[in-house]
Symmetry: C2
Subunit: 338 residues, 2 copies
Amino acid sequence: MRGAVLHGPRDIRFEERPDPEIQAPTDAIIRIVAACVCGSDLWPYRGINKINGPMPMGHEYLGVVERVGDEVTSVRPGQYVIGSFVASDNTCPHCLAGFQTACVHREPVSGAQADFLRVPLADGTLVATPGEPTPEMIPSLLTLSDVMGTGWFAAVAARVEPGMTVLVVGDGAVGLHGVLAANQKGAARIITMSRHEPRQKQAIEYGATDVITERGDDGVAKVRELTDGVGADAVLECVGTAESMQQAIKSARAGAHVGFVGVPHDVHIDGIQLFRTHVAVHGGPAPVRQYLPELIDLVWKGEINPGRVFDLTLPLDQAAEGYRAMDERRAIKSLLLP
Amino acid sequence: MRGAVLHGPRDIRFEERPDPEIQAPTDAIIRIVAACVCGSDLWPYRGINKINGPMPMGHEYLGVVERVGDEVTSVRPGQYVIGSFVASDNTCPHCLAGFQTACVHREPVSGAQADFLRVPLADGTLVATPGEPTPEMIPSLLTLSDVMGTGWFAAVAARVEPGMTVLVVGDGAVGLHGVLAANQKGAARIITMSRHEPRQKQAIEYGATDVITERGDDGVAKVRELTDGVGADAVLECVGTAESMQQAIKSARAGAHVGFVGVPHDVHIDGIQLFRTHVAVHGGPAPVRQYLPELIDLVWKGEINPGRVFDLTLPLDQAAEGYRAMDERRAIKSLLLP
């Protein structure tokens, strides 16, 4: 089969790779129906995260089950399935508490930008769709594998409740899905921070009521102005830098939760700042497995359209261009179809 | 009148001070029935927090209303009252959200280790008891002014729920009240970290089921051992040092909240640690005003006895000895009676 492999900074090659095999009786092999490029893929792509030799890329996937190991019981060949970017047994105490990305048997899933993919712990990782999805549903279902589930977790961790004023920091695909999640959870007002017109438009389509273009202390002042000096009731931090975390904490009202899902890069939080502000922080790799049944149902009924974040669709063998477009910020998110 | 005044490191003098006056129509003047020494008073006492000139001490109080300003309507002379260590209007958005210590009109209350005390914003700060308390109730009611309310907030911020395994870091009076709060909230198991036998005993009386004497990584390993490797469902951090915060975060299970109420001294939290562990942190100066009605009711009915943390009772004019005993760890907490 063929798949996208990162050989070095900005060097993605779509090349021949060994067909994946069943390695454990709990594995499944799926044929990829749709994959995409994640914002987090850009860290190694840009050379900021080092790689040890050629690295098969991609961890977001929608596929059809080809074959399963002897112990797999919950999915069968021919089913359309979506799974998390982290394989989990879905039976350990952390999984049962809803934190499948902290599963005691967790394994990263990688190499999804390819014709086929091995998914470990298939019973605890994959969820089948109710039937064969329409072509229109496919992009939206694909997002549930990571990006939409991550925006959803940001809203969960920020404890968004009906009627709240919610701030979303970050206008990437995760931030846009954070807006969609906050809207779905009944937020009365959703403030997004964005300077990019296409992203502003998408945020508004997903339910944003206010767009702030200011950053830093000016951005904080603007949030205060929009909230009668009080601050946001819940904040979704969808970037992962020291600046974005400060933006989030300083814009939150006393007692608010900041849900953070961008992988933190050099983010250090002073305990006394949290103490003085009463702001809570909660985040991590989103336990998207927990949300798959609920979110598949919402997509299936046409209630949410997270697939709209894809503004570039390419054949899988042009994965390299998908990376370039996102790296150069020409695209929000690149969809890859075999 | 007379009151305790800090003149410099370890120099507490009980001396003549001006009688407090009504300064604003929202003020109340109360006659102190009971006061005490707070762990946080030891920071300036030890010279770690600098003071600017002589500093009247004390912010925990139970008193009888002497007179009130023209605008005070909720308390009247002769009533027994308890108030927070931070005065609040109890009507602003932060107060209404339950964070009275973030009130837009907040003012510290100080000088309570004295015969009389001025309490600003009396309507929003003081709560009257149902009647004249018995002498046995007085120490317990006094604790609601800060220390018990702070332990309670630690349990609230840690999101303690019935059936949980709760870890309490810190065996001072706040930590002991954290144990009591966790027990009251239905924790199935309460692990306390303590090396002091009298404190261990008090923790057990308040509901602790397990006592850990190990610290640092050994302490973390012990918590893991006691929880089948999972970690605590909720953690109360009642110290405020970098070590205690690490103890708390590392002992928590994925998704658990650390409720922290010790004023952080040089506590810096790495964003990636919180990300990788899924541990949430939430704390601050406890909004004890929020809990006063509920906790007064529990004390009145005899359901909780937080006053047992006082293991030294002195006349108010011997306040200096109350400080010395706590500084030298001869006493957990000193009660001062006029």
